[in-house]
């Protein structure tokens, strides 16, 4: 329920104070990055800068602002986190997304389920960027249907022996640690026989292979696990409770992710581009076809921002973000593809060139063209997100399921 305070679209006095604090800290701590061209660096060239920036944020309490302090976070508000992100975005800084799976998923899960020794040993290094973490959930036949995990874990004295294949492992090739869902008992229905661990990615038998994407880059990996031994002490949650632990992790992810938009094609990119070109000799922004499209996207993109603000207010008053957070990605992913195509189209044949374009704003759009199909899939396809919203927000009935209540070993597919 909302507080009994007036709706206010501007910073409250407390927020303003926090913003000033953030601004001052950023001013004092970002000089060393200001003139570095991170865009043209390789991952390995950039990573040391990223770690350094992350360590600075951790030392100053900005590394995990909204995460509860008992989970290792800053215990701040979601609004503070947004304020920090808004201000941080104004500076030239190295990419710090390497740490987001660790901070958003691994850290709260570890804080909830790991023993004290591991927490003390690992969480500070996670927070400071010394360690990179990944998550090993998806498999070739367990994407939308996470319950379909086949990677097998068999108990062997104090260890578990794990065999199988994981896929879509973001930053797997850089990771020190990972969290993983395995099948420990195939004789019970699919959601009941899973067990959750964390593992050292340097363990024997872990083979990380980059997946080449359609844009030629490799952000994801396949991870082959061959007789990988995981100590039972690295089990998170009870044997057979892997599904529940995974849901908890995903809920943490949703909380962490709910504050940000994809930002592939950032606000202003489209407007800037359209301001810079002419059509048939007149400014593109005078053209009524262009204006109509622009208005459509404004309604979507700006609407998502307002939805986010509403969620933040709700979050600030203690409510947990529900599946309606899926809406943001659903709308933005499609809009990104549409905006991208539209911008490219207005330039005729010049719209296909990544280099050599006279239009400064465009290479970003062109690169986004090859990324946008991926964002409509990663983290839940449009169709899965619609199912989620239909069932969890609108309360509509589930699809008929033929794979429930039967032993996993009997499920088709």
């Amino acid at each position: 329920m909302s507080e009994n305070t007036a709706m206010n679209f501007n910073d409250s006095p407390e927020e303003l104070a926090y913003r000033e604090h953030v601004c001052q800290w950023l001013q004092e701590n970002t000089d060393e990055y200001r003139d570095i061209d991170f865009q043209s660096m390789t991952e390995h060239e950039e990573l040391p800068y990223s770690r350094r920036w992350q360590a600075a944020k951790a030392a100053a309490g900005f590394a995990a602002i909204p995460l509860a302090s008992e989970l290792g976070g800053g215990g701040g508000t979601a609004m503070q986190s947004i304020i920090f992100s808004q201000e941080e975005a104004k500076y030239n800084l190295p990419f710090y997304g390497y740490f987001s799976i660790g901070l958003g998923m691994a850290m709260p899960t570890m804080a909830t389920f790991a023993n004290e020794t591991f927490k003390k040993q690992l969480l500070p290094k996670l927070l400071s960027g010394e360690h990179i973490w990944c998550q090993l959930f998806s498999e070739p036949s367990a994407g939308s249907d996470l319950g379909n995990v086949r990677t097998r874990a068999i108990k062997d004295s104090d260890d578990w022996v794990v065999n199988g294949q994981k896929v879509w492992t973001t930053q797997g090739h850089l990771s020190d640690y990972g969290i993983i869902v395995t099948r420990s008992d195939p004789s019970v229905p699919k959601h009941k026989g899973l067990t959750f661990f964390f593992l050292d990615m340097k363990s024997a038998g872990v083979d990380v292979r980059p997946i080449k994407q359609i844009n030629g880059e490799s952000e994801f990996n396949e991870v082959y696990l061959t007789d990988v031994r995981i100590p039972d002490s690295q089990r998170l949650g009870n044997e057979g409770d892997g599904w529940k632990v995974a849901l908890t992790t995903l809920m943490f992810e949703r909380q962490a992710g709910s504050e940000h938009s994809l930002g592939l094609l950032e606000e202003g990119d489209v407007m800037d581009f359209l301001s810079s070109i002419t059509l048939d000799g007149k400014p593109a922004l005078d053209d009524s076809y262009v204006r109509g499209k622009l208005a459509d996207w404004y309604v979507k993109m700006r609407g998502l921002r307002y939805i986010l603000y509403r969620r933040l207010t709700a979050h600030s008053s203690g409510s947990v973000p529900g599946a309606e957070a899926a809406m943001g990605k659903l709308v933005e992913a499609q809009a990104t593809l549409d905006m991208t195509r539209f911008c490219m189209d207005l330039l005729d044949l010049n719209g296909i060139a990544i280099t050599g374009s006279a239009f400064k704003a465009l290479p970003k759009q062109v690169k986004t063209y090859l990324k946008s199909p991926g964002i409509r899939i990663a983290g839940g396809t449009d169709e899965i997100l619609r199912n989620t919203i239909a069932e969890r927000v609108l309360g509509l009935p589930q699809e008929i399921r033929t794979d429930k209540h039967v032993p996993f070993s009997d499920v088709k597919g």
């Binding site: 679209f9 309604v299 307002y306 939805i307 169709e383």
Partner: protein, 369 residues
Amino acid sequence: MNFEFSADQHELQNQLSRQLADAFPIARVMRVLEGDLAERKLMWREFVELGYLGMAIPENYGGVGYGYLELCLMAQEIGRLGIPVPMLSNIYLAAEAIVQFGSEQQKQNWLPKILSGEVNATFAWSEDDNGQAPDVINCQLDSGLLSGVKTPVPDTDMADIAVVVANGRNGELALCLVNLKQQGVSLQPLEVIDEASPHASISFDGAMAEVLGGVAVDLDRLFNRAAVLLAFDQVGGAQQCLEMSKSYAAERFVFGRAIASYQALKHKMVDMYVFNELALSHGYFAAWALENDADELAQAAAGVRLAAIKAYEYAAAETIQIHGGVGYTWEYPCHIYFKRSRIAAASLGGKRRWQNKLVSSLIESGATI
């Protein structure tokens, strides 16, 4: 930053929701659709008597002295129930025009009468001109006499007076108050797509008219303010369409399953939900801009108007689709919303006009999408 109505405001909304649902069940709305305009007048009288009409108007003019945030929430509840009361023409436009542009004396003279239901006002801006330019007005005001034709003018079954958009002698836009019950004013009722929303052509032939405030008025500002309020009506209607869809789809079985379990309909309802949430969230921002008379009002109003048109038109058409055959019958309430959604989309000017307004305001303010 607090992007939520207050607890008190939500409580007021709940109370309104209950009161209105009790007083104006769908059967009464259907009676109006059947052509029973006496029922409409009765509903309006009862609505006035509930005492919320002057929600955003100061008490010294007969208002309730809440604010525009509360008025938005009331609009949402009226829209949800599809109640055929003349809020847009009478309150969001005519009364608001008097508040914004009227002299102190005009406010004291007219507002209490309007808010008590003693006098019903309407707002006449549209003309039957092929020019389709927003500012091309042919009605002429000269030495206190008005001549020209306004069409369609809404709610002419009830209106006693009209606030009319006209050209002053020096070519500036002027608003004037005209008593419709005088010689020199003649009404020609029109058949429009919504039986519950009577419209007419009005011819003025040297009718006596009282100029509102100074001669040059900022009509855009008035339309922006009304657009925010109308958008809440639209969102309320769109939300009701989703609710009706969910209920019907849960109860209707085809091929042995509730139709709500089919992905085609589930995903359609998700799309309704998404459009509704986008519109509602634009509404939050616009309501704040309206209440605070913020610089962002023009942009916020255009944004919420476009979002609300989209949401309502989609929801109203698709709830018929989800209902299947019965959705297309007079007996089911879907058409109340299908008709209202179109009237609302047209009432302050169509989509293309607001797209242009939005982009112009983006360019002016240097804002980005």
